[in-house]
Subunit: 203 residues, 2 copies
């Protein structure tokens, strides 16, 4: 499935999805105008975004809420089960292992790795914590293509290289470091501190 959706539109799909799911079961139809008003955006933009998911509405009535949810979920691949691993079972890593929110997108974090002997062998969030050394083997075994990176900064690039070598195709990087990876590997960064700093500078 090659997507020609702009990434910025893609980023809005989960927002629509959350909103649509939050509506009362009784609401059968929803219009692009109503969605736009609720989310504070333009209604044409909403229709354009939704059109990418190949959902379609009916003039005069709007979209069938459940169909729209199904179309977005299908487009995002929520129905396809995907396996992820997590590296770095510190505070943030542990929190993410305990976070149940990935499931609704079809993503399961199946195991985690850390180099701290005190953590290796334990379970966090119901997932086994294995030794770093077992990473390549583990990724191969569970067929993970996604990885969450939450290690200390000085280890980030090394671990990233290992992940790539082990066959990981997408890395969600929480470390405030610019990772170098092959073009074929998608890296996206979340820098929580920077996000708060940017927010502060807007005040």
């Amino acid at each position: 499935m090659t997507k020609d959706i702009p990434e910025i539109s893609l980023q809005r799909l989960p927002v629509y999805l959350n909103y649509l799911k939050s509506l009362p079961e009784g609401d059968k139809y929803i219009s692009s105008g109503a969605i736009a008003a609720a989310l504070g955006m333009g209604e044409v933009l909403v229709r354009k975004d939704l059109a990418y998911t190949s959902s379609s509405g009916r003039p005069k009535v709007g979209y069938v809420r459940t169909e729209l949810i199904a179309a977005i979920e299908e487009y995002l691949g929520c129905d396809k089960k995907k396996t992820a691993v997590l590296v770095g079972v510190g505070g943030l890593g542990s929190a993410l292992l305990g976070y149940g929110g990935f499931g609704k997108y079809g993503i399961d974090i199946v195991e985690a790795y850390d180099n701290d002997p005190a953590k290796v062998g334990t379970q966090v969030g119901g997932r086994p914590v294995l030794d770093d050394c077992a990473m390549a083997e583990g990724i191969g075994r569970c067929g993970a293509v996604l990885a969450i990176l939450a290690v200390p900064a000085q280890a980030a690039q090394t671990v990233c290289d290992q992940l790539v070598k082990a066959g990981i195709k997408g890395v969600l990087n929480f470390v405030p470091v610019q990772l170098k990876a092959p073009e074929s590997v998608v890296v996206r960064n979340i820098d929580v501190a920077a996000s708060l700093a940017i927010l502060a500078s807007l005040l």
Copy 2:
């Protein structure tokens, strides 16, 4: 300080900052071309972004690394101490309380709130956890203008309303819910699960 920088440029400033700080102390000068190459972007864009911070380079030699760092830090307001509070001391909230990365942007999370009696009165990450009821008083007392929201979804809007009423001007929202807040309050969302799902859908 009214900024007319595009938010997208603003978002790149911490990236430059991290990169510049990671360079060896011995590097006195750095060119926009070198920064661009390291971060995989266009060099004109780098110069434009840096120009917003009123830093300036010298033709032929580039920018003085330390000056550039200082200019970005000043532009982002890292020198100005800002107080933040956190609401919702669950897994993610606890992790953020223990995360030291906010300090480099001049942000200090001074206290946290939760409605779980078992948590109230404890310390997490060296910060006191107070009862939700003490939120308005606490925010007033410590003069916080920033808040991190990490509560369960069904509580998010209610807590947000309380934060706004208590004088919070910026909310970093980790809850996958579209918050309604006055125009004067800046809300930015981080949806970790959605970010990973988007990443997965790009593969």
